[in-house]
Subunit: 469 residues, 2 copies
Amino acid sequence: MLQLSLNNDSSLPLVDQIVSGIRTHIDDRMLRAGMRLPPIRGFAEQHDISRFTVVEAYDRLVALGYVTSRRGSGFYVSSRSEAPNIEVRSGELERAFDNAGVMYQSLEDSADRLKVGVGWLPPEWMDAEGVRRNLRALSRRADLHPTSYGTALGYRPLREQLRTKLGDFGIAAQPDQILLTHGATQALDIIARSMIQPGDCVFVDDPGYWNLFANLRLYGANLIGVPRNANGPDPDAMEALLQEYRPKAFFTNSVLHNPTSGNLSPANAFRVLQLAEKHDFLIIEDDAYGDFHPGSTTRLAQLDQLNRVIYVGSFAKTLSADLRVGFLACNPDLRARLTDVKIVSAIANSEFAERMVYLMLTEGHYRKLIERVQGRLSEATDKTLHMLEKKGLKPQGEPKGGMFVWAEVPGIDDATRLASDASTQGIMMAPGSIFRPQQQPSPFLRFNVAYAQDKRLERYLGEAMPRFL
Amino acid sequence: MLQLSLNNDSSLPLVDQIVSGIRTHIDDRMLRAGMRLPPIRGFAEQHDISRFTVVEAYDRLVALGYVTSRRGSGFYVSSRSEAPNIEVRSGELERAFDNAGVMYQSLEDSADRLKVGVGWLPPEWMDAEGVRRNLRALSRRADLHPTSYGTALGYRPLREQLRTKLGDFGIAAQPDQILLTHGATQALDIIARSMIQPGDCVFVDDPGYWNLFANLRLYGANLIGVPRNANGPDPDAMEALLQEYRPKAFFTNSVLHNPTSGNLSPANAFRVLQLAEKHDFLIIEDDAYGDFHPGSTTRLAQLDQLNRVIYVGSFAKTLSADLRVGFLACNPDLRARLTDVKIVSAIANSEFAERMVYLMLTEGHYRKLIERVQGRLSEATDKTLHMLEKKGLKPQGEPKGGMFVWAEVPGIDDATRLASDASTQGIMMAPGSIFRPQQQPSPFLRFNVAYAQDKRLERYLGEAMPRFL
């Protein structure tokens, strides 16, 4: 029998408590597809609440796709195929903090919203003029083929350049081990697609990258979060999970981790790789933010040398998100297989865009650009930490570079409430629950330090925090 | 008991006959996942052949992913999850005519190969100068944001322009019903991904677009080919198949169909839509080649008005394959769902590329460009038909425009043999079997008329055809 602990004194309405409780049961697989929910009347009596409350909660679960109503028979947990997370479609608020919904809002929102929740830099921090200059330079190149398909692997000189870049990280990769992709997102997508069958277990960072979670879930993956500690994925927690689960892969973000900006330590890296070896799973190391790290740092691919680690990189955060150029590097067998998946799902990517990135990397300004941004980020991080502490939030760790501060709102179970409130005031925030594999409640918020300097945020927090404390 | 008819006198080696026979049984689902193949000894005795022949054939099937060897227990048909077509990895010849392999070769082959099998125009037929000019013009626009993510739906002015374009085809679509994609390939991919669960039945054209087949198969779709007649999909054949199958969707190509260059008639369109209504499946109408059709023609979306038809368009064949701009148009509910799938698998596409296409469409040269290409294609088609007939091939139908001639090699079961031979002579051909849902044998070849003018093809056919007749 389903037993929820409902709290009449909570600021969270009973309906929300029931919805969230049942969702958690379903996400945790305690309630499984096809199982019947308690009848409305029985549930109401058991919990001593109104039947209308139960009806409203069940209706919300139906709208969310978690539950199916069968006329005359009751309410049943939807099968996975009936309830992909992506189908959530009921009202703006639910949608707002759904995975795809957050990204949609980030991309589409009007310019006058303060997007302190996004995962990229403001345009004015980027080198738009450099992009324009190279667009013109490239348009005049006689060897440009602007109407033809690119190659399956991607523009070779860029792959050779990436070999050098990876070499600087201590990762040895031949150009033929490198596959260019439509942003890191396509890299993660074709990796997921090439290995995940519905029901497969996949380990992810908890907290971790929300859009990846949504993507893995679309392939039917059963996501298990590996808690992060200050030094990366917690190896003890991972070892304990491995008693219970047989993951096919572990998707992780080692350097300037999204959302905490933490970094992987050599000791954690070694133990994670040992566990991967022992339990035979692949590791996908997403390094989208790594270039912002000042100085040297540890990457799994550096220890493993692309044996069971697939390295994923991107230029979306540093050069241009619009060019959509990312890449992966892995062992040759995997590379061949992933290339086929790329071909059947996209044919090829834009060679023009790949050449643009090549020009930006080789004309010598890249290092200077990155160093300038690192300096600005460091300054903005200090200011943001100071401001958030002043407003009563508790930043976690002491980020060394990167664009995120991960801060707890004390005395709150789920910072989504604060983010919802902020949304009505024109401030788009990223609440911690979206970074959790099953969107479990979280008292954290992720702040983008490049946007957090805007005085509107400080004003809003000054006004709102007393209401939430 | 598995019974193959092997022929010692065939020019096809016995090993190939066994491999092909068992593959067909598996593809046709007469042999199913988990079923055991006959023991090597029994099979050899039954067919009166050497055990080594059987061992070699079984090993090839293992390498192809169709069969799994369990030590001490024998050979078993692989489950679908163990044998995605994409994993085919054994030797260049097998790979060469595998779906992804053909595309890989088309993209990567050296320039001196004559690629009469590709599905796009030679660069010199396209307006590279127009692309270069617009690249420069766009790089100077003050409102360009070359470092930021594009929007989730795609550049709005282009969607408004596409509304006009679709209006010219008699298809009414609001800009918000249109989603821009990374080529038509991404459009087809996110549609497939949003609806296909492993084991789902999907109808496709037979013959039809090979890369689509590979993509659908990656999602675990069970592909059922609907035979084409001279007027499009054969409604009688479709009706018969619907007695047996419950497809979720039908992917079809109505105008200048790839590979036959046939066109859909109004009568066939009406019956196909009736069947879709009665049996409740979606139709995805891929119109990648439609702009090359001179004059008016019938599209399913024109009759259905995007109710149960999703229309997919592309500029890869007309403006630039490298810009990777395609689109889909459908009803608003579907559009919202497909947008989410696009976000979680790609975030957004390049707004720069979308603006490039917008400029190319609106600066007024598009119509002129298309008309010039139509004229050249018409002339090239006539010459190709004449040349192929002279060499003893039998072109099917009388293509009205488009870039393909679909021609039979008389007296041959599988034109793959001819294509393999041509490959050794530096000519890349597209044999009919790759256009069939289960790569069944086919005596047809698809010729790209824009490449077929090259004298090397005529010389080769003059030399080779007598050997194959």
